[in-house]
Every structure is written in C-alpha cells, then in structure tokens.
Subunit: 367 residues, 2 copies
C-alpha cells in the first residue's frame, strides 16, 4: 500500500491524499460505505461504482460467523466472492464482539464470546482476527482491539488500552500478507493522555495507517472533538488517518477539517432503510404524510439515480408498503449524498477553500 | 391499441404477434412481470428493460388501497409514478378481491369487501374498477369480474359467469379512455360449454382482447388444458388472447402451443424471493447446503447479470443472511429465465419449428 498527501489546506488541518492499495487508487479524504456481510445492504457492486465508491468496509465479526472466512478464502477472497474489484478495508471484529455478541471472558489471549445469531461459543484472539482478515483478502486489515463503551473508568480505559497495544503487537507479528496493509487503532476512551501513550506505542510497533477507535460511542460531542483535536496532529503525517465508525455529515466535515483521511459509518445506509434521507438542508423522514402527493424528488439539484427518476410521493409509497426497491432507492440517495460531500471537500482542499466551503455547508443547513 | 398476428407455426396453434399500445410495441407471445404495488418487487425499471420486459402488470386492488388511484392519477398516472415508460396492463381487482380481501357481499352492483391491510370497508363495482384503471392510466385495462375458486358447483359457475358478463357490459359502457384498451375475461370454471357461452356474449359486446380467467386456481392440470384447447381456437384470431395468472414454464409452453399471446404470473418473482431459482433442467433451492461452497453461477450459459457476476455460494449466503441484494439477484435471474423462454418461443414460431423446440425444452428438463 502506498499513501501520499497531495494537497493541504493550510488554514486548517485538512489534507487531500491518494491511497494505492492492491486493488485500486482511493482519493482521500474518503467515506467507506459499510458492506457488513459481503454486500452493502440493498445495492449492487455496479451501483456502488456509479456512486463513486472507491473503497468499502467489510465486518470481520459478521463474515467470520456467516458465511465463514475459510469459505470466502476458498472462493477466492472477499473481492471475488462479492464481485467488488475496488478496495476493501476489514475491521478486526473488535467493535462487534464488544457491541453485538455476549462476552463471556476477556483475557490476555483474546475474547471468548457467544454468537448473536445462534449463541454458539467462539474465541477470537489477535492472531485469529489477523488470520481471518488475511483469508478474506482485504486490502487493509485492522488490529484486533478492545472497543470501549462510554463511560468507562479511567483505570479500566488504561488497562484496556494497554491490552489493546499488546494485542496490536501480536497482530503485527501474525500479519504475513505482503499485499495487505495493517492499521493500528488508538484507544484510551476520552482521555487524551491515554490516547497519546497509545499512539506512541503503536508508532513504535509501526503500522501502515493509524485509526481512532471507540469514538462516537455515546460520549459528548465535545469530548470526541477534544480527542480528535489533540490526537490528529500527532498522528504520522505520511500515513493515512482513519476515524472509525463516524458519523453524521457534520462529523465528516469536522473530521476532515482536523486532518482525517478515512471514515466509515452505517448511518447513510441504515438510516436509508429506516426512511431517513439526507439533504443539503438537513434530513427528512420520507414516511411523513406531507410527502404523500409530493411530485418533487428528494432534492431538485441532486444527480443521483433516485432523484433523477422518482418523486418523494413514490418513495413514500414504497417505504409505507415496505417494498424492496424503496430500501435501495433510499440507500442510493444517502450514499450519493455522503460521497458527493466527500468529493466537494476534496475539491475544496485542493483549492484551499475548505473553511469557506465549511461555512457554506453549515449555512445551507441553517436555512 | 393495434394487434397483428405476424407469423404462425401451422403445426400447432402457436402464433407470433405484435401489439402496439399507447406506450410501446410488445412482441407476443409475451410474459408480463407482475408489478403489484407500482414496482416489480426488488427490481428497478432500468433492470426490467435490460431484461427485455416490454409490458408489466399492475394490480388494481393493491393500487386502489395503496397509494390510491386518485393519487397516482394526480401524479401523472402509473407510468410516470413508477418510472416505467413501456406498456402496463392492469387487472381489474377481481382476482384479489376474491382471494385476498374478506368479502362481505357480492351483489349485482358490485362487491363489498374489507381491506386485507386494515379491515376498512370498500365497494368495487364494474364502473369503479374501470374508473380506477382509467385513473391509473394503464395501456390495457381488464373488465371487473368474479374470479371463481375451484371447485364451485356448476350452478354457481353459471350464475357467476352470467353476472361477470353483465359486469363486462357495464365496464364496456363505463370505459371512455380512448388510448386505453379494454379486455373481456372469459369465466365458467372448468365447464367448456359455460366458457363458450361466456366468450360468445363477450364477443357480442366487443372487446380489444380476450382473456381466460380463473384458471390455475387449483383445478387438475388436464381440466385447465381442456378449457384452453377448446376455447383458444374460438377466441378471435385478430385479437390478443391472454391467459391470466399462469404459470410454470411448462404452462407457458403449452399456452403458446395452443395460441396464447399474453401471460402473467408472480411465480418467477415470488419464488425468487423464496430462494427458488429456475434453470433449463428444472428448479433449484438456493438454500440447499450443497451450494455452500459452489463457485459456479446458477447456470453456466445464462447471460443474466446474476449469472455473469455471482456464484451460487454467494447467492446462498445472501439468502441465508436475508440480504436485500439476494432477493434482487434471484429475481433478475428468474425473470431473465422467463423472458428468454418467451423470446426463444417467438423465434421458434417464426421459424415454424415450435414443436421441435418444445420437444427439446422437455428433454432438457428430463436430464
């Protein structure tokens, strides 16, 4: 993997980069649609390409349980299995193990948990998570870590961060796939000093990129920003910086301002399936009865397939009738919204007009 | 609407025709995918076009309840509402009123029923069904009739058929849309003599096309064939002949052999969503564990998007995980199967090799 910062907006921390993986070139800052189970829910690989997605995320925990990493490996890896020839980043499973599964035991060796699907018992260690991601054949794999919920005590945050660092060292050791990058994940909850210690130790081990984990897990927005403001400038300039599982359009804008290169979040896709659609002026609920006879698209100037072809009245009808096409059309619009936003931010950085762009972004929402 | 028979296979009753509606030219014999609620479940209008669909069916009963015919009319009609610019046939609601709703009363005026969605009371008369279809703006509308289940007594079949004929006359009277065709529906259950009487009376009234209703509703296959064999040759040669709600690939082949021009059925789409996939050699259940690691497409020589891109292992995974993309990929394959079958039959009729084609069709299934 190669990464290069190709432009900066010197009025803030924003940077424009280019990430070359084994499969494709990714222009950063980038948003990665979430393809949990080897599919970005409801859309096809071709639709993702039309939307301009250059990298998607796969969830190791989910793929490990269904259909199984060995199976995916035998069938040629995740790219081939799901028909996606651009880049894929896999998370380590840490987040899902700690949020979805029932944890039986966290020990130095790894985590014993029960599947959220059938209650079966499993153990994931740093070595296993690395092995699974190598079988999946993603372009970027993540270290297996403990994801902290919020709040945790400072003592627990330290203890957990230190274990995550030891686990990261074992992941580094176990990682033997030459074409796959490996990123370290900075933990330490909302404590800037713990996060700094974590980052230093990860840099000593050495990774291809660095991520901020366990943010947007319930902490006040100011604390999230405090961590980002303090950590991002210290993360290696020459390596990609990834803010995991974040966030709202506003979060993306603030992340880019502070120097984040990569984002992922289920928000555009999950909310689409729940009928929440993003617009320049904020979000709308398509089930609202005010749209019953609305002949207009979600946004007049939106160039997505959904807005080019269909009215809010039709989308509302599909949503109310739980029609499968509705989930897809909503997803296409929301992903387009997110990916367009990223494109505009990349352009603004290139032009060194990011803060002006950001001001207009907030103004359009205050209308 | 114009209809022309452009070729015949004189070794049987099969005929190749061309139907010109207000929106498009339809090559017959044709299969019409079912778009119940202003969407062929899970696929987009563009995908339907790529599959070669030239006409789809909308369900008056469903559209009347959700989103309502007036709303669709206000928004420019069904074509514009759902983004489909080729032809649409709407059924009259008769079949669903008699199969889905709870009937309160059948009287000369019409049918009083309760919605299957919320139990609300409604009345549909022949005039109302005609009015609704005019508001929807379909290219072909159907007479409101009583759909018989199987079995019914001969007396009931006669009484019901006679009422359906009186209703058909009222539909003809109420129908005032110059660009919309109106088809009559032949009833009479499995009784050939009643069906003949019905056909004669409908021809006296005069319709743009004639349909066989209430077949494939539980009667033995031989009785369905007996009705088709006896009625189809008597249906006007110069008008389209439509076999409603039928059926399996074999049913289509036998229908074409006997001179049917138009078919519709939920089978390819509904079965797709249940994981049943059609192949040349019969059907398969994608959830079968034998496909867990199967790297092959559903059919090697199939040219559909699904078979060009995805393995059975992937389709099985999507189905087991109830992923939305799976319903779509399965639907694309099954519709492609049906539409390709129709295309091959049209070609065979043109070449006057239909019976040879039919023999090979059955042989490939006996493998």
């Amino acid at each position: 993997m190669e990464f290069e910062v190709i432009a900066r907006d010197t009025s803030c921390g924003a940077r424009r980069g280019r990430l070359k993986t084994a499969h494709s070139t990714v222009e950063t800052p980038v948003f990665m649609p979430v393809g949990t189970l080897a599919t970005v829910k409801s859309v096809s690989p071709e639709e993702l390409k039309e939307l301009g997605a250059s990298i998607i995320l796969g969830n190791t925990y989910h793929l490990y349980l269904r259909p199984g990493a060995e199976l995916v490996g035998q069938l040629g890896g995740l790219h081939r299995f799901m028909g996606w020839d651009r880049s894929i980043l896999t998370d380590s499973g840490g987040f899902q193990v700690f949020s979805l599964a029932r944890i039986s035991k966290i020990e130095e060796g790894g985590v014993v948990f029960q599947s959220h699907i059938d209650g079966s018992r499993h153990m994931i260690s740093p070595e296993a998570a690395t092995e699974i991601q190598m079988m999946l054949g993603s372009d970027i794999s993540m270290c297996f870590d403990e994801c902290n919920s919020f709040p945790v005590t400072r003592d627990y945050a330290r203890e957990s961060m230190e274990r995550s660092v030891r686990w990261a060292a074992r992941c580094r050791q176990a990682h033997t796939a030459p074409l796959q990058a490996l990123f370290g994940i900075i933990q330490g909850s909302v404590h800037v000093d713990l996060r700094r210690i974590c980052l230093e130790r990860l840099m000593e081990i050495g990774f291809d990129g660095y991520a901020l984990g366990s943010l947007s897990v319930g902490e006040p927005k100011e604390q999230m920003l405090e961590v980002m403001e303090n950590l991002l400038p210290q993360m290696p300039f020459s390596h990609p910086r990834y803010l995991m599982g974040v966030g709202t359009p506003e979060d993306l804008v603030e992340g880019v301002r502070l120097g984040v290169d990569m984002f992922d979040c289920v928000m555009p896709t999950r909310n689409a399936r729940n009928g929440m659609l993003f617009t320049r002026r904020g979000s709308i609920q398509i089930k609202n009865s005010r749209y019953t006879r609305d002949p207009e698209p979600i946004e007049r100037d939106c160039t997505c397939y959904t807005c080019q072809k269909f009215s809010k009245a039709y989308l509302r009808h599909l949503f109310m009738a739980r029609e499968l096409l509705g989930y897809r059309l909503n997803t296409i619009h929301n992903l387009h919204h997110y990916l367009r936003l990223m494109g505009e931010m990349r352009e603004a950085i290139q032009q060194e007009t990011f803060l002006k762009w950001r001001r207009e972004f907030y103004e359009s929402r205050a209308d």
